[in-house]
Amino acid sequence: MNLSDFVIQYWPRLLSGTGITLAQFLLAAALGIAISLCMGLMKLSHNSIVRGAAVTYIEIFRGTSLVVQLYWIFFVLPLFGLTIEKFTAGYLAVGMNIGAYGAELVRGGILSVPKGQWEAALAINMSPAQRMRRIILPQALVNMLPPWGNLMIELLKGTALVSLISVADLMFEARQINASTFLSAQVFGAALVIYYILARFMVTPFMRWLERYMARKLGRA
């Protein structure tokens, strides 16, 4: 069976898997961005308890493996009475993991804004929250977008691991089809191509567009 025949026969399953992969990607991205922002800001706090909490979170999630985190959330949390449905556990683990890496990008982005910007915002008597929200974060965002592009690719790849807890994403469907047909080259090849298309022709162009758009807003175009 060649690749095109294979795709014609199995496309509904590959398509539904791709849909789940995209859903996992979007939910994990939303969660990851929220956590990045929160932990990145906390790591810059003057309060050592707040800072310590952020450092602990970041080191734990960056120091262990995503697979371990996924299993822990899915298999261990229920022992504490916190049973999470597998779909939720999937994007929760991926998003929390990416959030730890993103927090460092947020922190770096904020630190990259020149000191003069803080001072000018203080000179027009803005409150600390206003300074951060209106002056620093918009500039930090532009500075950190390029590495976020790479992180989003890592996030997409990370979603493939949710198949390990039987979330029916693209990776999971590919394994299932492989197990019943043994057409390994076709099914895994097709899955590789789909991931590649998602990364190279959707995620990356979107991030590039966002970079250009934000740069234009900054008047840097």
Partner: protein
């Protein structure tokens, strides 16, 4: 913290000085940048600070803008303490809340302009009035456009800073500071980062401010001619202290102290 119990809760006098440094000390580790500085500036007065680099000139402005904390003494603005606040009949270090309230009297322009790059010239000027003073967008726009007109930048009001020359950015920065209607304006080497041919457009704006407005101004500058032209008083800083001060004609024409003479002749040679 140092003892401030000997300092008055507020200062009066006729007229009350707009700015008053009382025995203000600033040090970084073991390096003393300012040593028990006493300096009064009257309302409406234009004071220039000159001196060699490292003499503490810029630090004076940065402390007044509350960008730096002081290590000793008290700074008063318009009779009220700035760096401290009264509590139970004595002065205690100012809280963030107190600083925010008192800071409203002070505006500052920086050597490197520090315009917000993600906002247009007009948005830069409107940011403070809208976000901090709570003006309506319409009021803030009117106020900002008027000021941009005054600094000659109304034609570029919708440009981002990256599209403006250094001189143009600095003029916008002056308008941005003025939009907050401060009582005291601080100019920190505002022409030092500019190309020589555009320095005039910024100094002309400051001249206009001096002649048309009754603002209290404190300026750190390396341009002796400009300081001489527009100042009511010039202070020569040396080693964290005011070595000599007086009306510009006197200080530049007939300096009394040896260090002042040395500095002025060195500057003259450099030109």
């Amino acid at each position: 913290m140092h003892d401030v119990s000997a300092f008055p809760l507020e200062i009066s006098g006729t007229p009350t000085p707009m700015v008053s440094f009382r025995k203000v000390t600033k040090s970084y580790g073991t390096l003393t940048v300012l040593d028990e500085l006493d300096l009064d500036i009257a309302a409406g007065e234009m004071v220039s600070i000159i001196g060699p680099s490292g003499s503490g000139k810029t630090t004076v402005l940065r402390m007044l803008m509350t960008l730096e904390q002081i290590n000793g003494g008290v700074i008063y603005v318009d009779g009220q303490p700035l760096t401290h606040m009264p509590k139970n009949g004595t002065l205690v270090p100012a809280s963030q809340k107190h600083l925010r309230k008192r800071r409203a009297d002070i505006g500052m322009c920086f050597q490197h302009f520090n315009l917000f790059p993600h906002m247009t010239a007009l948005e830069n000027c409107m940011e403070g009035p809208v976000q901090v003073l709570g003006l309506s967008k319409k009021e803030a726009r009117e106020r900002s456009e008027e000021l941009l007109e005054m600094v000659g930048m109304i034609g570029k009001k919708d440009q981002h800073p990256s599209r403006l020359s250094g001189g143009q950015q600095q003029r916008v920065a002056i308008a941005r500071a003025l939009a907050m209607r401060p009582k005291v304006m601080l100019f920190d080497e505002v022409t030092s980062a500019l190309d020589p041919e555009v320095i005039g457009e910024v100094t002309n704006v400051i001249r206009k401010l001096v002649s048309e407005h009754n603002l209290t101004m404190l300026m750190v500058t390396h341009q002796m001619g400009f300081a001489r032209d527009i100042s009511d008083r010039v202070c020569f800083f040396y080693g964290g202290k005011i070595e000599e001060q007086g009306p510009p004609a006197e200080l530049f024409g007939n300096p009394k102290k040896e260090r002042t003479q040395q500095f002025l002749s060195a500057v003259k040679e450099a030109v």
